[in-house]
């Protein structure tokens, strides 16, 4: 049994590291309480209404009627974002020309890493991965080369373009911190030197893992239109959260109370305790 090469081992460790930090930041969002409703149109699961941005509120007695949802339109909207970054294409074409290859390149690189790990496991179990090995080994070999190569070209082109844009466009430069430049420069160095696994250790600390945040921003905020009905899970959260203690200190806030207490304390406003 051949042992893992140092590179393979490092790749594996980096992958694990990446997943752990990503999970940590994901959990941080998941653990936040159920917020007040704050949806934003259009909501793609609104059957027959998505195309113009309508919602169930257009129906009379909407609470009496079952939600008419379409998973198909929601899935299509998600895929359009994941595969084409459609919203950026529509609203900021200039940036899309670089952002799109950059992201597509990353997808290829993820496949590349996945194939590397698959290859390592396979080789460890005695299967040869090479151009002239068996069908499995040959496919994995060529796929790895293809994904690695395309990933490199696309992401380097994209990152270089984004870096140039960030440096040359006033509105991007003004808001960029040294770390924003560093992220892209570091990315380019890593890509050019080929030491890709290093990226996995750095990326999860940056905003570059926004694909995860995007999931929550869309599914848990913009499209999160679940009503609060009697006995529902939503109501259970609400009851629990109304019991949280409030420490805001302005004069219109009853001190030491819970949310349920302060929301009923309208006397404070009525008797002029307020400023």
């Amino acid at each position: 049994m051949s042992s893992l090469s140092n590179l393979q081992l490092f790749t594996l460790v980096s992958c694990v590291f990446f997943i752990v930090i990503l999970a940590f930041r994901t959990i941080k969002i998941i653990r936040t309480p159920l917020h007040l409703r704050w949806e934003l149109m259009p909501i793609p699961h609104e059957k027959g209404r998505y195309y113009y941005g309508g919602s169930r509120y257009e129906k009379i007695d909407h609470w009496k009627k079952p939600a008419e949802k379409s998973s198909l339109t929601e899935l299509t909207a998600m895929l359009e974002e994941i595969i084409f970054i459609k919203s950026l294409f529509k609203r900021n074409r200039q940036l899309w020309w670089f952002s799109y290859p950059f992201h597509t390149g990353l997808y290829f690189l993820i496949c590349y890493l996945f194939l590397l790990v698959t290859g390592a496991i396979a080789e460890n179990n005695g299967v040869t991965i090479a151009a002239d090995s068996g069908i499995f080994g040959t496919i994995v070999h060529y796929l790895t080369v293809f994904c690695g190569f395309s990933g490199l070209i696309l992401s380097i082109t994209g990152a270089a373009g984004l870096l140039v844009k960030r440096m040359t466009r006033k509105e991007l430069r003004l808001y960029s911190t040294p770390s924003d430049y560093f992220n892209l420069v570091f990315f380019l160095i890593v890509m050019i030197t080929g030491f890709i696994a290093t990226l996995l250790i750095y990326l999860p600390f940056t905003h570059m893992i926004h694909f995860m945040a995007k999931y929550f921003a869309y599914h848990r905020v913009r499209w999160a239109d679940e009503p609060n009905t009697s006995g529902s899970k939503v109501e259970k959260h609400v009851i629990k959260q109304l019991g949280y203690k409030v420490s805001w200190s302005a004069s219109h806030v009853k001190q030491g109370g819970t949310w349920a207490d302060i929301a009923k304390d309208t006397e404070r406003d009525a008797n002029g305790k307020n400023n």
């Binding site: 941080k28 969002i29 936040t32 917020h35 007040l36 409703r37 704050w38 934003l40 149109m41 259009p42 609104e46 209404r49 113009y52 941005g53 309508g54 919602s55 509120y57 257009e58 009379i60 007695d61 609470w63 919203s87 950026l88 609203r91 900021n92 509105e171 003004l174 808001y175 911190t177 040294p178 770390s179 560093f182 905003h207 570059m208 926004h210 995007k214 921003a217 905020v221 009503p227 609060n228 009905t229 009697s230 609400v238 949280y244 203690k245 409030v246 420490s247 805001w248 200190s249 302005a250 219109h252 806030v253 949310w259 302060i262 929301a263 309208t266 406003d269 009525a270 002029g272 307020n274």
Partner: protein, 539 residues
């Protein structure tokens, strides 16, 4: 007046600069279509008096709404800085801010600063791209404060992560004002492919000032939510005056049409509790009157309420304070329960739709969770039910529709109002863009009722500019005074803003463009009412 900064404005200038960050010069703003394209023809921007200048900080852009004190002792500055930081910590804590922590965290941590959102913001665009009005500017200030003062290692790694901002009096004064240079229309949020919501961040900044530092806009807080909870309405109208108003409306209508007319108040167990923005009774009484006519003609069982708070659907808490938001929403629900109605229907008021209809949904529990509905869906049902005899030729004038952000972009009620207009207004035309991609009227987030100091001039020149441009473009080719034209704005705040815009730019005088709600058009088309309901000279 203070000197204005010359070089491009940086994020750090909000605390560093000793000069005013921006000066608004009407010549530099995006021009309006002719004959409104000559800035010299319109009132000059009101300058603050010397006394006001001495008392209040205007170093952001020369306008004042919050009125942060100009001179502050070192001790007071230290206290405010500490309070602000404690407010930021509370914003990030689940007990104190469960209400918005999730969208806030996402918005704070994952913005890529691509600036796609700036292209969507009417304020930033129409101001001639003034940096401080960029949707990301105020968000970035808050982000940098958090990086430097709250995150571990912030002061150590400082500049690398952009933790380079000094939290001082200048920053607080300017940030307080800056949080009121955005209408919370959420057009920027809609444009962001990641889902970052800069409007939400702006509202969170307002919350720190209100919920922790007691710094608010008097029009929204003292004269708004506090007055509403104290006297019954943000207009200051007590229950007795409300009842008088109702009687006046009944008499007015009977006299005008010689028809019997009744506006039901406090009827127990009616199907619907109808709540209007109380501003309607004072500024546009024809609107609640028209509602009464339609509902009576359609045989709908409904009532108004004269209980404290329940005759005013306004909830300015939506714009700056979660606690005030909750207090008012609970009051509305409590009175509906007491009356034993089946549902609350909200009149033509956009923010009331969003506050009570959507946002407050997760403040209620089984005991007070009463169904809430938009008047627009109900009206659509009535208009298409055949219960009213309607003659569209009575509305034979050009009509365009303004989409209130809170009803449309944030709530998805897009088609009912259009279906009605297509049916009863033969010359209906859309603005560009419209529907969920509409532009705010410029009076959003309470600005329409903010009348203090020189802030109204900012509303007229900057935040309302895009809407006026859109309205004029909708009637392109017909901008002379010959033909009467109508902007339908089914929202009290939007109407207030459009009224002020029309007055400021003399739009009615020059182009015969009038404005009003949706119900007025419906009643105007009712053939049972002999005289036309829309009295142009009264609009």
């Amino acid at each position: 007046m203070e000197k204005t900064i010359k070089k491009p404005i940086k994020i750090t200038d909000i605390s560093k600069s000793k000069e005013q960050l921006v000066k608004i010069n009407p010549q530099e703003l995006v021009p309006l279509p002719p004959p409104y394209d000559k800035p010299d023809n319109f009132p000059k921007i009101k300058q603050l008096t010397e006394e006001q200048e001495q008392q209040m900080d205007s170093s952001l852009d020369g306008f004042v709404l919050v009125g942060f004190p100009k001179s502050v002792s070192e001790e007071q500055e230290k206290k405010w800085v500490e309070k602000f930081l404690s407010g930021v910590k509370k914003l990030l804590n689940k007990e104190d801010n469960w209400t918005f922590l999730k969208p806030l965290l996402i918005s704070l941590e994952y913005c890529t600063k691509c600036q796609t959102c700036s292209k969507a913001c009417n304020i930033f665009q129409m101001s001639g791209e003034k940096e401080i009005y960029r949707p990301t500017y105020r968000a970035e200030v808050l982000r940098r404060i958090i990086k430097k003062y709250i995150k571990p290692g912030g002061r150590l790694f400082g500049k690398f992560y952009g933790a380079d901002i000094d939290l001082n009096r200048n920053l607080l004064a300017r940030l307080a004002e800056l949080s009121y240079r955005c209408t919370l229309c959420r057009r920027c949020a809609q444009a962001c492919s990641i889902g970052i919501d800069n409007a939400l961040i702006t509202r969170e900044i307002r919350k720190i000032f209100s919920q922790e530092l007691d710094i608010t806009v008097p029009d929204l807080h003292k004269l708004g939510t506090v007055q509403q909870l104290e006297t019954g309405s943000s207009t200051g109208m007590p229950p007795l005056a409300f009842k008088d108003n109702i009687e006046f409306l009944e008499e007015d209508f009977e006299e005008y049409t010689k028809m019997k007319f009744n506006l039901p108040v406090n009827v127990p167990n009616a199907d619907i509790l109808l709540i209007h923005n109380a501003g309607e009774y004072l500024a546009w009484p024809e609107n609640p009157e028209a509602f009464g006519i339609i509902l009576e003609a359609a045989g709908i069982s409904y009532t108004l309420s004269s209980d404290l708070v329940a005759y005013d659907s306004v909830n300015y808490g939506l714009f700056y304070d979660d606690i005030q938001l909750a207090k008012i929403a609970l009051k509305h629900a409590e009175i509906a329960k007491k009356l034993g109605v089946k549902k609350i229907v909200l009149g033509e008021c956009g923010h009331a739709h969003k506050a009570l209809g959507v946002v407050a949904d997760r403040i209620f529990t089984s005991e007070n969770n009463i169904p809430r509905e938009s008047c627009l869906t109900l009206l659509k049902d009535i208009v298409f039910s055949g219960k009213l005899a309607l003659d569209p030729s009575r509305n034979d004038f050009p009509v365009t529709l303004h989409d209130p952000c809170n009803i449309v972009r944030s709530m998805g009620i897009v088609e009912p109002q259009r279906k009605i207009l297509r049916k009863i207004c033969p010359k209906f035309r859309e603005m560009t863009p419209h529907g969920i991609e509409n532009y705010c009227c410029g009076g959003g987030s309470g600005f329409a009722i903010c009348k203090s100091l020189n802030f109204p001039d900012w509303r007229m020149h900057i935040s309302g500019r895009m809407k006026l441009k859109q309205i004029l473009e909708a009637f392109q080719g017909d901008l002379g005074p010959e033909n009467k034209k109508y902007v339908c704005a089914p929202c009290s705040n939007c109407k207030g803003q459009i009224r002020d815009l029309f007055k400021f730019y003399k739009v009615t005088e020059k182009s015969s463009i009038y404005y009003g709600g949706l119900v007025e058009l419906i009643v105007n088309a009712m053939s049972d009412i002999k005289k036309p309901f829309i009295e142009w000279e009264m609009l």
